[in-house]
Symmetry: C2
Subunit: 442 residues, 2 copies
């Protein structure tokens, strides 16, 4: 993509309304635009990150056996009356009347609707386990939406729902999703630590928040240092092997880890000082077993092997991709801008022509753009007539992992400069070597 | 994907509420489920088709130079007051009040919002042309939603918006989108004919509906037979070459083509009888130049080369992917079910094990599934214990282009049977030959 044909509205000034760094950087980098209170458009650069994040989420949901569907945003109030939540849910629910004065709502979540889908078709334990997910816009009418897409009213959510015959089955479903989440966040370059979360009236221990550490995090979290060294299962992990999956969950839930809310001073003080990690954290995912909470009032049951009807045991599993992107920026930026992990960077390489219009610089840039594109890399080629300083500032701000700098002096020497955005390291390479390195060919 | 682990809720009976064949087949094939009046969930099989359709649309939008963004579904009424449409738009607009009693609405379309994005950032003709699109859910509160996803209230829409300095630029943008649409529909196996549409108070001739022919189509259309033989430009078409693009549009707009609404009996009667094609058609896309209709009231202008401010000249370009899928089924089905064009089929191959549990049949199916998956093909493997007749009926109903049938007798002879869903042709092949044929290796 050539920057001259792209739509990248960089802001030079810090937007006054942005209270946190991710909001500020997303506005400045031209990723998002605010359209109203807690409502954002995703501009081309932001949309690319959103797509990459969703693709990783989807791949790991699919790998774990979940099936993707797409439920509508607008729901009938009747469905929520069945579960009792229509009256219980507060003002955060956006309530709507259609032209026939029917009560509708913009879904803040989808337990009721997915349970309705389930009960319409599934009648036997033989059709279980089942896990249905979708990635769809949700609306929660927060009193004071703030922090950009970290806490907006309209937001994207991946929500998965598992259906099983009994608690044992539901626990296995929960474990699979737990491991899928570990893999999902690792693939995005994040270290996410599962921390036990409140289960409220449901009880039990099947509720975890996945927390990433970031200095600017929203809450205080506590965990054992062991977590920082744990390896995340590879893509050969066998989701069909319940024992293997349970073993991974066991390992990842044994050392101490708790959010402020669930913090236990006694357990914490028993940990050796060097092993204590106390830091700021951001929640990026939540998995939750809620058993028959919806299946019972909504009459979602299957015939079991015993010939009797059983209300299915359910769980829900959420990741907010739009919020996640803000969290990633909170965890990965410096004073010059965003520092994208490679797997979710909007482009792989920023190709910077320091003298657009110079025949040799243009020729080398064209060659690099063509070769890297052919190698499957996404290149953002700054072919504009901005001054070099402005081009460098833009490249740092938007945070692509690699900058490839083409200058008249370098080209005369047959060289280009490669800069690593994260470390700041620079090196000079021949054009062929740069192509080989970035194209992943050599 | 193994059918035993998939969620494919086939209906044996014809659903009473479905008036048209696409609605009936989508319900019966377990592609969609109705959630309320004009509101549908997309089940796994349907979601896969939706994704494939959207991917083709996206690739062709990108190729033509349009840039993808994502605007929110909920919009502020204030924006629509600026254009004057908040009061003008009828009851089809879903009007909402949030918790602070602010007037909002569920976007039925996005001219206002995209114009707002444009005016916030773009100030000079040097940043033009610009074409921004998104694929997002829309809501139109139809009095009587019907025909399934063909005319639902909540529906997916790709809407693109072009911004240019003047009419000449806007015309070139229109031409690019015209050609992108030709390519988009052709890639989906459709023959779409551009027909001049009403421009209302805007005037001019830059408004076309893209119509596919289908016996069950919603309206009568008339065109010259030449269209049926026209070749659609290949992927090497140069969107940067305005003359080339205008030439293609010229060719595709010269012979007579009109919907019922725009039909001109005098021009029609001048065509030789053999060249007249009068048929039923379904609109699958609409492109429209509307000039300064929004830029003027919303004050979206750029500085021109003359140093003066110019209201930008705009156009909009829509395709409804959810509606399009229904249209494709109307155009491509038989008495046994759907017949998917290869490029948008939810899976490439239906692998049918006629005797699940039989060691040899299972072994051969596993081998075929692994080899075809490795070749990049999406295989839906019917490993259930249903009777062969039911498996064949399901495979025909869901309409995958190829059925690969593994029977005890065939396996004993070292053969499998390959059936073409569209033609019904069957042939026996060795396992290696079947892999080579379907994997596209040989």
């Amino acid at each position: 993509m050539r920057l001259s044909r792209y739509f990248l509205p960089i802001l030079k000034e810090n937007p006054r309304e942005a209270e946190i760094v991710s909001h500020r950087l997303m506005l400045r980098a031209g990723m998002i635009r605010q359209q109203g209170a807690g409502s954002f458009s995703w501009l081309p650069l932001g949309k690319r990150v959103l797509d990459k994040v969703c693709r990783i989420i989807r791949e790991e949901q699919d790998r774990s056996g979940a099936l993707e569907i797409m439920m509508p945003t607008i729901q009938s109030a009747d469905l929520w009356r069945e579960s009792g939540r229509y009256d219980a849910y507060g003002k955060e629910m956006l309530r709507i009347k259609d032209r026939h004065e029917r009560d509708m709502l913009y879904g803040p979540t989808n337990e009721e609707m997915v349970t309705d889908i389930f009960r319409a078709y599934v009648k036997s334990y033989k059709d279980l386990p089942l896990n249905l997910y979708h990635i769809q816009w949700k609306f929660r009418d927060e009193v004071r939406p703030r922090f950009g897409v970290m806490r907006s009213r309209e937001f994207l959510m991946k929500d998965a729902y598992s259906f099983d015959l009994d608690y044992e089955g539901a626990k296995e479903a929960y474990h699979r999703m737990f491991v899928a989440y570990l893999r999902t966040f690792t693939r995005m370059g994040l270290q996410a630590i599962p921390m036990r979360a409140d289960t409220g009236p449901i009880g039990g221990d099947l509720s975890h928040e996945f927390i990433i550490l970031a200095e600017t995090g929203e809450s205080q979290v506590y965990c054992h240092r062991d977590y920082l060294g744990f390896e995340v299962p590879g893509e050969d992990v066998d989701f069909g092997n319940a024992a293997e999956i349970a073993g991974i969950v066991g390992k990842w839930t044994t050392p101490y880890a708790a959010t402020d809310e669930m913090h236990d001073e006694a357990a914490w003080s028993a940990i050796a000082g060097d092993d204590k990690v106390s830091a700021r954290g951001i929640e990026v995912g939540h998995i939750f077993h809620f058993g028959e909470k919806y299946s019972k009032p909504m009459n979602a049951s299957v015939t079991g092997p015993d010939g009797k009807e059983h209300f299915v045991s359910m769980g829900s599993y959420g990741i907010g991709p739009s919020r996640l992107i803000a969290a990633i920026i909170e965890a990965s930026h410096d004073e010059n801008g965003i520092v994208w992990p490679e797997s979710i960077s909007p482009f792989d390489v920023a190709l910077i022509n320091m003298k657009s219009g110079d025949t040799e610089c243009d020729r080398v840039c064209n060659e690099l753009e063509a070769a890297l594109s052919a190698a499957g890399k996404d290149v953002l080629y700054d072919d504009t007539d901005q001054r070099p300083g402005a081009k460098f500032a833009t490249a740092d701000l938007i945070g692509l992992p690699w900058q490839l700098i083409v200058s008249p002096r370098g080209v005369a020497a047959g060289e280009v400069e490669l800069k690593n955005r994260k470390t700041g390291e620079r090196e000079n390479l021949s054009i062929a070597a740069a192509i080989a390195r970035l194209g992943g060919i050599a």
